[in-house]
Symmetry: D2
């Protein structure tokens, strides 16, 4: 006990002022500052910090931009990592490109959520795109990202992007136009959570599907898809979508900063079944710049789920409905 | 596994985007960032962070100013907490006032180290003071503190203060004048450490003592003084000083941010034995403003050590010498 | 990311199987296991673990005996450190001996709580003692301590000790005998907490005081007494007791495993004012074995509080009453 | 500071003795104990502990069996998680079954390392197997696993398994028989590490390959294979093997307890290219019981690496050689 080094301020001629004479590396103090995420009550994931760049709060949530050693700049909302500089490209390439590539000629896209701007950034790389509508409810959070996420500056300035502050359902229903692709970039469908209604069968059936043009594709992030975590929401989102659409394709990828596999689901009434080679060809023709993560083979691997996950998805019976939501309380465990 | 909440940026209409629907307090994310100090290899002390205010590096050491929740702004050097806003007054009042009050009329003071500025600040509260020399070897660190420690701004501007960038021993020996009080505000005397030589018997005998005026008092910080930690350096500093000076007074106080009791030792060839009442009287007469921690009774309690510590000090036989230093290696354990 | 070392079990010829070739000390893995206490929401205190010796649960609480590296065996109840092998003697010597020594001839003692057994152990060292009643409400917890706390085995077997499982108030009121000393070894008086009623003015006035013999002394643990923590309960316990007793003596000591100063209060209608010398003399005459922490001078220092704490106690106006308790909710902040 | 709850042992009638009246769940204290792994210097992965079941030490390394909340029983060697109850099946099914299934009729297998027993367990599920030789250098570690890993008890008792305590290279070279499959279940090839020599081109060329029968297959674990971690050793093991064998197949899978993707490489001079359907068929015919993770499609996905990793493997030029090893020091960075 008590080997606290203390030297009232700056030591005289001191390189090392540890009481025990232990040598500290010159930037040892940096590793003294940590971001700690409670992934579960009994599981933590901790990143050494360089600095706390910005903190802010909206009417909905607290938000912070941290500079972490292992994953670069990290956007944290209400104590949960949303997106990290070094690997957000995996999430956003997976969310955006498979749907746009499977579409013959995507011109206009509606993003539900997506205020970080990265989803829009990936969409705007497609030469076919005329118009992207991003509809996020949290104005302060959108402004926070606009101001601080340098990587999305250009996207936020792109004239093809329109940012709307509104509830996604209301906005979708109010607008008359239909879309080639609708992208769900929302929080997970926790019962009682804010986004639950945007994952239900009736929302998909009566709001999303009617707003897709002929041959249109809906794609949504679908929560963790790991061997232990895919039953939380991934399998139910998949099962809900296959009640509504003819073709439904689940896929997943590992996101290191999230310490898990992540999942997405595409859905359409037109077939979604391009070969790896065709995907590669379309990428070359349509996408500006080179993808860092996704190509044809990667998508082919991503959309071939492991035995365990595949079986769970096949056998999933739960469907998200507004009614179900009404009767389920507590921690949002849905089955 | 895998209940990572992820919503590619800002959720739509989301106050709570945790996968489990667990409610986070609105400033929950702040408690996700921690400063962690390894007090010993098997003991850690962790403060929630508001922000990392400034970081810098000198030729000697890395330095950071953190904004911590439990202890306010904290100065951290090479991964070790040096001083925290909410309780540095305890350390600095204890270092400075007992020696100055026991001196009949202290006019000029030499500080070895002290670059943080707080020691100077407390000294300059004494109306009798004409001149304070602060001699610290680390110019960048002094500049860092000058720039960022608002609480010491006034002290750094006081015309009675002269800041010298040099090795304390060289400076003391080079100067011709003598001092009423010499204050040691240095890192602990770890064998092989940078300050070891400034705690040896020969340094005290041949450098410090000759530079004290008649009736002069030397005081030094003396490391942790807790029931388990006082043998690290406190008892040896005490024992070394009593080889050189006629009167030696050890005392200690709890510093919450250091999770331990801290120690100081005063030494002189004139008696150091004022009553609590006399100390209180001199405080009123000589010190501008009111002490937050120290008064006569507090000093009387502080200088009455507990049985365990008293016995260790009485029985300590180790004396810091340059010779000893040469033969002791490793972790600086001196006995 | 991902430098996880993994070698499906036992490596072949491997002393070091870290991916980065970092050398681990041979018992490095031990420091991988930690006990972490949230002292406050924004302050943590963490001990490396050797092992988790025993865990149990009573109808009232969970209980565990951990083997920690920095503080030896540690008793943890509901996630809070109660007592650690290496320094519990400080707490228990301070709780027991000042009251017994100030009493001219203590023969019978009532302990409210104290199921750990250490309070009884210290009491039974007094040669004058005929009878100790320990009244704790939690039978399983008492049995847990009886079984596992080797240091108190002898005390639990002492024929002068009677252990009663009951509520302390009910037991005190039901019994006809009076006591030389009553010891409060209970959880802190949190509003709404289980022990609140055992810290109120009316309890002291109508239950405790009438059960003390002529010249009897009451002593109670009084919560943290550090410069930042003494207003939580220490100052209020002190103030409540001085409403009821003529002589009230607060004192405190640093307990390293608790990362804070701890407080106790003695109260009596007879004067409590022995000199350090008289205390030392009585210790020699009456106590078997030697104290490790407490002697006359230590008590004199302990009962001379620092300026800050002394002023708070002098100025405290809050009195614990059952009425107050009824109207105060939430986090138990009592003022 | 200082809201430490303390009640000298068992509180009286206390369910909650936190100073702040914060309610702790009844098993709150369990979450106070954590296993913490430093995945990298700036990245930590922490599991709540139920208990520390066994600890031991061999001449080579320290070893512990922990009971963790998120991943069940976990084998930890020198501070690094080796294998966790809930997901070791992923690692061991991936290590063993692809090689055995691609072999037309595997009868005898040599395991380098593998002392945990799980690799043998999976091998022994194959009906074709006559003989498994497990050659591990650490006898105490093997005995530790034999005693405590209940899941492998049966395998350790199987008469077809022979456990040899020796260096794998020496053993392979000393024995006259050849093998259908050789399995490398060793620590990663860190320069200067104990297993480096068992990953070099010359070892593969002059020791492994000559000991494979006609049509024989070599398979080895190949370290982390995540998007950020695959260049540590995975790409080099792949590249080294393709210098020696005609057909080399790298594949990978996510292991949640390791917070990363893991990699393996198969190599042979006979083609390795069964379809998913053929693999499924052979599994049914040859393997007792059902795989939990691996089937034909899963292997097909596992062996289709993502764009990033595929490109790195294609472009890798480093080859592990004994010479290289001799000249590379320090942290085992191999390029």
């Amino acid at each position: 006990m008590g080997e606290v080094a203390f030297s009232s301020g700056i030591s005289n001629g001191s390189v090392n002022n540890g009481v025990n004479g232990q040598s500290h590396s010159l930037n040892g103090y940096r590793k003294s500052c940590w971001y700690e995420e409670e992934i579960e009550e009994d599981l933590r994931w901790c990143f050494a910090l360089n600095s706390i760049l910005h903190t802010g709060a909206s009417q909905y949530q607290d938000i912070a931009l941290l500079d972490t050693k292992p994953f670069g700049k990290a956007l944290v909302i209400v104590g949960k990592l949303q997106s990290a500089e070094t690997d957000e490209f995996i999430y956003h390439e997976c969310l955006v490109h498979p749907a746009l590539l499977h579409h013959p000629n995507p011109k206009n896209v509606f993003i539900m959520g997506g205020g970080e701007g990265s989803t829009a950034r990936e969409l705007l790389r497609h030469k076919t795109i005329d118009k992207v509508l991003m509809c996020d409810i949290d104005e302060e959070a959108v402004n926070f990202c606009k101001s601080y996420l340098v990587v999305n500056k250009e996207a936020f300035c792109d004239l093809r992007l329109e940012v709307i502050i509104n509830d996604a359902r209301g906005e979708l229903e109010a607008r008359e136009e239909n879309y080639d692709v609708i992208v769900g970039d929302l929080a997970d469908p926790i019962d009682g959570g804010p986004c639950y209604k945007l994952y239900t069968k009736s929302f998909y059936e009566f709001t999303v599907k009617p707003k897709l043009k002929q041959g249109g594709i809906f794609v949504t992030q679908a929560g963790p898809a790991g061997i232990f975590s895919h039953k939380e929401v991934f399998s139910c989102i998949y099962n809900t979508l296959r009640q509504v659409f003819k073709y439904v394709v689940p896929y997943s990828a590992h996101i290191p900063s999230h310490a898990d596999i992540w999942g997405w689901v595409m859905a359409s009434d037109s077939p979604i079944d391009l070969s790896a080679e065709e995907l590669d060809l379309r990428m070359k023709q349509r996408i500006l710049g080179e993808n860092r993560y996704l190509d044809g083979k990667t998508f082919s691997s991503s959309s071939t789920l492991s035995k365990t996950v595949r079986n769970s998805l096949d056998n999933e019976t739960h469907v998200y409905t507004e009614e179900a939501a009404r009767f389920i309380h507590g921690h949002g465990k849905h089955a």
